[in-house]
């Protein structure tokens, strides 16, 4: 067991965006989180990562209670995330952006040599495989929307982390890159990194995930292995359509 979500509730005004949701993720596995738009998936990510406080319930990580922690404290536990709307440094180059999370973050380092970072080889290999190598010396601001998403995804592979939460890694990304992105996720996962992924692309979810949690109207509709979820009538009705 890795993450444990117990009876978590989050309301916005009169709406229960997350309504008594409980589930666990398995250490080192790839867990998928799916559900219709507005079903509470991103809110759940925000609760796990401390971006929003929970109203009720508990969230645990490896025997430690983490609800109530600030986002930076959650990051220090090795739980990191990407966003639906990308957040990168527009004036740093593409390569510099890649190196930011790998550096020594001491204040002295930030002041003395802000652009130097670790593991440039891995950064280059990643940029190569997602088609951004030719832009590595360009400011990130010059990238298109989809390229921004790719950069942020690549960034999440650069971070030393125990659990990586990906919010719709395939949206806005050309399908021809999907195979190499899946390959990266599998490679990082085989080295022990756990993934928790929100995704609408069922090919991606079904080929990557060991376990899937389905949300609907803020509640857990189903959970199980991909093959089981694919056959679940309620999931077909609420999410996949005919």
């Amino acid at each position: 067991m890795s993450l444990e979500v117990k009876g978590v509730v989050k309301g916005f005004g009169g709406i229960r965006a997350v309504d008594s949701v409980s589930f666990q993720t398995t250490k080192g596995a790839i867990t998928g989180l799916i559900g219709p738009n507005g079903s509470g998936k991103t809110t759940l990510f925000n609760l796990v990562t401390g971006f929003l406080p929970i109203d009720e319930g508990e969230i645990w990580h490896k025997g430690r209670r983490i609800d109530g922690l600030k986002p930076h404290q959650v990051v220090e536990l090795g739980i990191i995330r990407t966003f639906q709307i990308t957040r990168i440094f527009p004036k740093l180059t593409v390569l510099e952006n890649m190196l930011v999370p790998t550096r020594d973050n001491s204040l002295w380092h930030l002041v003395s040599n802000p652009k130097k970072g670790g593991r440039p080889e891995k950064a280059l290999r990643l940029l190569e495989s997602i088609g951004l190598a030719t832009y590595m010396d360009d400011p990130a601001a010059s990238l298109s929307y989809g390229q921004n998403k790719l950069l942020e995804l690549a960034l999440s592979f650069m971070v030393e982390a125990e659990i990586v939460l990906l919010d719709e890694p395939s949206s806005g990304i050309n399908p021809s890159l999907q195979a190499s992105i899946n390959q990266w996720i599998k490679e990082e996962n085989s080295q022990g990194k756990e993934f928790f992924i929100i995704e609408h692309n069922m090919d991606v979810i079904m080929s990557l995930c060991h376990h899937i949690v389905v949300l609907h109207h803020g509640q857990k509709l189903a959970e199980g292995k991909p093959s089981v979820i694919q056959q679940n009538d309620q999931v077909l009705e609420a999410y996949l359509g005919d």
Binding site: G131, Y145, G172, P175
Partner: protein, 247 residues
């Protein structure tokens, strides 16, 4: 010639002087058409839409609407001529109600009654927006927000609609519904649609005609079906695999 047509002729466009994002882009669209642009990230698809709207500088070539040159015109003037634009990503005004969002689309219209009439027509097209008219936009789901965005540009009664990734971030079931709405706009309202899509299979299925952009130029073109069945297109841009398979 060139009657009832939006056409691009050998268009070259730049954000920064000297760095051409688009090279020799030529394509035409009539109010009967649904056209889909696909291609890798950074190929220039969004830039084609921005070039038409005057949001990026066209250095060479020309863009004409029904024969009239509109190259590098201001976006508000282009809108008045009947070309509307739905940008990429969620762009509703989150703190405004659905009704207020729709009204914002009509800021170039002087006649308040006309605005109200058009909003009623939009409600006919998207009945759920009428039910939610007093809800703040941020409380709507992704698919509903996409409908607000499409409704908002309908208020100027456009002849053409440029849509940048209408299915972005939408659940499979909702994605199909949005493409159905796009087809309905085209067939019932005679609005020519030029859309950019990364869900290339569904985008091309909905489209009459498609163009594959790569590195700022058109590499392949053909009917949606032709492109979906083209081996090279599938291999290079659709991630290989079976063209019939749906997400």
């Amino acid at each position: 010639m060139a009657i009832n047509m939006l056409s691009l002729k050998e268009v070259e466009a730049c954000y920064q002087k000297g760095i051409k994002i688009l090279q020799y882009i030529s394509l035409g669209i009539s109010p009967q058409d649904i056209i889909c642009l696909i291609g890798p990230n950074g190929a220039g698809k969004s830039t084609v839409l921005k070039a038409i709207m005057g949001l990026v500088n066209v250095e060479n070539g020309s863009i004409t609407l029904n024969g009239e040159d509109i190259t590098n015109s201001k976006a508000n003037r282009i809108m008045r001529k009947g070309i509307s634009y739905v940008p990429q990503g969620r762009t509703v005004f989150p703190e405004m109600t659905v009704w207020e969002n729709l009204r914002m689309g009509g800021f170039i219209l002087k006649d308040k009654n006309e605005v109200e009439q058009r909003i009623e027509q939009i409600y006919e097209m998207f009945p759920i927006l009428k039910d939610y008219r007093n809800r703040k936009a941020y409380t709507l789901s992704g698919g509903e927000q996409q409908m607000v965005e499409m409704g908002r540009v309908l208020i100027i009664d456009p002849k053409y609609m440029l849509i940048d990734e209408p299915s972005l971030g939408l659940a499979p079931k909702i994605r199909r519904m949005i493409f159905e709405k796009i087809k309905a706009l085209n067939q019932q309202k005679n609005i020519g649609i030029l859309m950019v899509e990364q869900n290339a299979v569904q985008g091309l299925e909905a489209a009459d005609f498609g163009y594959v952009l790569d590195m700022g130029t058109i590499r392949f073109w053909g009917s949606g079906v032709e492109l979906l069945e083209d081996k090279r297109v599938r291999q290079l841009y659709l991630g290989g695999g079976d063209a019939k398979k749906r997400n």
